[in-house]
């Protein structure tokens, strides 16, 4: 039964810096509803006098974690809401949210795999929820994550991703750094292109479930690239995040 989704006031339980430009807020929800990995919450700020600003943030945490959702927020240049979320909230603060929302861009372990996840920048957030759910659900579907960021410092959740990739359940994580890479870097060092997609997708066979999330132009380019490689468009789901960060 579909429940009506109303605004509720969540309490900040934890504030955690991820990278220089991203932080995670863990919110305790009075009306927590189990979400699906890939869904998001709408978040709304209200100023005295009634002015409101609203944005959507993908849920980073697995559905298995009850009562709390984690939102990872990238600080956008001159961002009205992301600026506030990076400067103001402390544990105990109240934030108005609505969700969980969105049923199109979701993965549940029951859907199986193989799973191909492609992330650009902060597009990693909903895909991280999928990988955290995959782990919590004990799934061993073959999975590959291709994660593109400008530099090493901008990879969100890197330690956790490396740990997941080493836990023997069949996950591989491939990074590509597009602007600067450290000495001795063995991963890719360029924007996602057709040869990279072909190389990454190949071991998963001809019919993976694909989820692509990140800046709009990157998402469109990767989706059409994979379609060119012969993956059925119905198996490719995309979520566009708008322009890349500054």
């Amino acid at each position: 039964m579909a429940a009506p989704i109303s605004w509720q006031i969540a309490t900040v339980k934890e504030v955690r810096a991820e990278t220089a430009g991203t932080r995670t807020l863990a919110l305790a929800l009075p009306s927590w509803m189990r979400h699906q990995a890939g869904q998001h919450y709408d978040l709304r700020l209200t100023a005295p006098g009634g002015y409101q600003a609203q944005r959507s943030y993908s849920i980073a945490s697995a559905p298995e974690r009850e009562g709390v959702v984690e939102l990872t927020v990238e600080r956008v240049k001159d961002g009205e809401v992301s600026g506030y979320l990076h400067e103001v909230p402390v544990v105990g603060d109240l934030i108005e949210v609505r969700g969980p929302i969105g049923g199109y861009f979701v993965w549940d372990a029951m859907l199986g795999g193989p799973l191909l996840l492609i992330a650009g920048g902060s597009g990693i957030v909903p895909l991280m929820a999928m990988l955290r759910h995959r782990q919590a659900a004990g799934s061993r579907v073959p999975a590959r994550l291709l994660y593109s960021a400008r530099g090493l410092d901008e990879l969100i959740y890197r330690r956790e991703l490396d740990a997941l990739a080493a836990d023997g359940t069949g996950l591989e994580v491939i990074y590509t750094l597009t602007r600067s890479a450290p000495a001795g870097w063995s991963g890719f060092t360029r924007r996602i292109d057709l040869p990279m997609l072909a190389q990454v997708a190949k071991p998963l066979g001809p019919e993976p479930l694909v989820y692509i999330c990140g800046p709009t132009l990157m998402v469109e380019s990767a989706a059409s690239g994979l379609a060119e490689l012969g993956i059925a468009p119905a198996r490719i789901k995309t979520e566009r995040f708008g322009p890349s960060g500054s």
């Binding site: 009506p4 959507s56 049923g103 199109y104 800046p215 709009t216 469109e220 566009r240 708008g242 322009p243």
Partner: protein, 96 residues
């Protein structure tokens, strides 16, 4: 469709996922898992995959194949305007 260009406008484009909350508030059920048939070109796409333009005075959802307007939603003091004449048929998925 050939308008995939590197421009600031295209970068800002989102998809139906981004307006799932607004649609849910209007319909009281999840809409982005359903499908809509474009009244202009006849192709059917998941509502979550429609091209979304959200920066202006209202939300405009367009057909990913032919870019025709399928849905226009504006919130005004007099109420919400919902123009769906660009959708021939919309199927809302059965809700679990």
């Amino acid at each position: 469709m050939d308008s995939v260009t590197d421009d600031a406008n295209r970068e800002l484009m989102l998809d139906g996922n981004a307006v799932a909350g607004e649609l849910r508030a209007l319909f009281a059920v999840e809409v982005t898992t359903g499908e809509g048939e474009c009244a202009s070109c006849g192709r059917t796409h998941p509502m979550g995959a429609l091209l979304a333009f959200t920066q202006g005075p209202g939300i405009v959802l367009r057909c990913p194949s032919c870019e025709a307007v399928m849905l226009k939603i504006t919130r005004t003091p007099r109420g919400v305007y919902f123009d769906a004449h660009g959708i021939a048929v919309m199927r809302i998925a059965s809700q679990a």
